[in-house]
Amino acid sequence: MPRLRIGLCPTLTQIVLEKLSRIGVHDVVDILTTDAVEVSQKAKVSYKDVLSIQRVLLAQYSAFPMNAADFYVDVMSSVAILSTGSSNIDQLLDGGLYTAEVTEVVGPVASGKTQLCLSIALSVAMETRQTVVYFDTGSSFDSGRLQDMMEARQKPLTQTVEMIGSLIRCCKVYSVFELLSGLETLKASLDDQTDKLCSTSLKLVIVDCVAAVISPVLGGFQTDGHAYMMHISRVLKTLAVEYSVAVLITNNVVYGDGGATRPAMGKTWSHVPNTRVELLKPLDSVGELTPRPQSHTDSDHQRHAILLKSDRLQTNVSTTFVISDYGVQ
């Protein structure tokens, strides 16, 4: 909560400030939640001054109610749908990743989460020439794989590897604090407008995998971990909504009662994303162990994707995709 200080508004002088702090009114919330008459009587500050301070601070610190008709025009002009590179997944998500939304991909080990992220990053960079920022928490970002995909996708090579590579920025973070500072730096450079590449064309932020940095701070009886987690969720949502960016995060699964899987990081996090997609290996879903075939067949690379949660679409719809040289198809 911001503290009261000189310069916040013209009537807030040194004398008024001292009088207010004597009666225990120190910050903006204190003065706004106390009745103006009470403040003026106790602090011996003129009623008019208190009212004018309250009015200025209200305007400064409150969120502005936006008429939905204007909001609609804003949304329609700023919303972009980013293709994932796989027509089946695009269909599942009604066109692809929407800007201003947080999409979460959950799945067990080797279900194709990172492959999906890399493939989407490449599709966005190649097709729309927009910037992608990739936060990598588990050192799973593989530039060699990215290059292979790039070469498989374009024959002959029309766009140089360097050009595409410069559009995808990878940022390696290994703790919840590094992730937070990375996200805040990104926000600052978006505000700054001097970083041309970022401010004009950033369309996608990927965090792979968000549970890797948050899970270690959760647990026990302390609440700080949850606060860090919610703080990260706020920053991700603010990025998405205020800068019209699509945010894609990946999450692990944990096994609950009876072997049922659910997204990691608990109940509080489960409310965070706008859209959640679960990835499954066909073997897992059938639940029987078949001997691994010697040759790599198509079915070996096949994965299921199920839409678990969405603000806009019918859920529990599933589709399949294949991990190939091309990325995901």
Binding site: M1, P2, V28, V29, L32, T33, D35, A36, V37, Y47, L57, L58, A59, Y61, S62, A63, F64, P65, M66, N67, A68, A69, F71, Y72, V75, V79, Y98, V102, T223, D224, H226, A227, M229, M230, H231, R234, K237, T238, A240, V241, K267, T268, S270, H271, N274, R276, L308, K309, D311, R312, Q314, T315, N316, V317
Partner: protein, 291 residues
């Protein structure tokens, strides 16, 4: 004691306060068959993905749609709504598609003139102009915004609904920053509840709040009275007048359509132990209750 606040209010504010608010009868025919009394606070609680935001958007659509247009009954209420989006889950695209479908269905029943699409868009825009969306990024901003809403409510007497999605958004951040002690947490909660109560009493509002279930449901077998525990604190608990619990229903039949596959339930708690449960599906027209 007469407060100087009342003395200094403008004529417009006075009218907004004393003005007979439009009736909220038929805001929701199934869940609220009677007139929704003013100053009620509804709490919609449930896990993730059970349709809390969808139910709120459905109520918003019911409220802002016009009563009729071009001589066709659309069955809206034509009242103003303020939507406070704390979880950033409000989807403009979804709301407009609900409005468009509802209007189209109503209009197509009458005639199929060529400029139908144009008039649908106009009606949607008129509907949206009755809705105000506020997004807050921290609990102190939310609190200050509640105080600042007086201006908006004073200038727009037709606003009679306030939606909050969701009230538990800042719970963990508050718990670790402001209120390390239970006392501190209760105080910050009390400020929020007081501000909200002042708004709804002064301006005769009806409030609908989504509340995310942040904790595992525990069953208190040894102490049934403890099951009434509310992690939002007792100030909040006292403010709420109606509780709706939302949940998912597992499909019984395997081969049903996509829409029927996702069935949800809402339990309306009223009085002591009396409750009734209705099931609903989410369609293009919002929320559809099943018999």
């Amino acid at each position: 004691m007469a407060t100087p606040k009342a003395k200094s209010e403008t004529g417009a504010q006075l009218l907004a306060r004393l003005h007979c608010k439009p009736s909220l009868v038929c805001l929701e025919r199934v869940l609220l068959p009677a007139v929704t009394s003013q100053k009620s606070v509804f709490e919609l609680r449930g896990e993730e993905g059970v349709g809390k935001t969808q139910l709120l958007l459905h109520l918003v659509a019911n409220a802002i749609l016009p009563k009729s247009s071009h001589g066709v009954d659309i069955a809206g209420l034509c009242v103003g709504v303020v939507y406070i989006d704390l979880d950033y889950h409000f989807s403009m695209i979804r709301l407009t598609s609900i409005l468009e479908t509802r209007i189209q269905t109503a209009l197509s029943a009458r005639d199929s003139s060529q400029d139908a699409s144009q008039s649908v868009e106009d009606i949607v825009k008129q509907c949206l102009s009755r809705l105000y969306v506020v997004r807050c990024s921290s609990s102190s901003q939310f609190l200050i915004t509640l105080h600042s809403l007086e201006t908006l409510l004073g200038n727009n007497p037709d606003i009679c609904l306030l939606m909050i999605d969701s009230i538990s958004a800042f719970y963990w951040v508050d718990r670790s920053t402001g209120g390390s002690s239970t006392q501190g947490r209760t105080n910050s909660n009390k400020l929020m509840v007081d501000a909200l109560r002042k708004l709804l009493v002064t301006y005769n509002l009806v409030v609908f709040c989504a509340k995310a279930e942040l904790f595992e449901q525990r069953t208190y077998t040894d102490n049934p009275s403890a099951s009434g525990y509310d992690f939002m604190g007792h100030h909040w608990q006292r403010l709420v007048t109606h509780r709706w619990t939302l949940g998912k229903i597992r499909p019984i039949k395997e081969h049903v359509s996509v829409v029927q596959r996702n069935c949800y339930s809402v339990t309306v708690h009223s009085g002591n132990d009396a409750q009734k449960t209705r099931s609903f599906v989410i369609t293009d027209e919002g929320v559809e209750f099943r018999k």
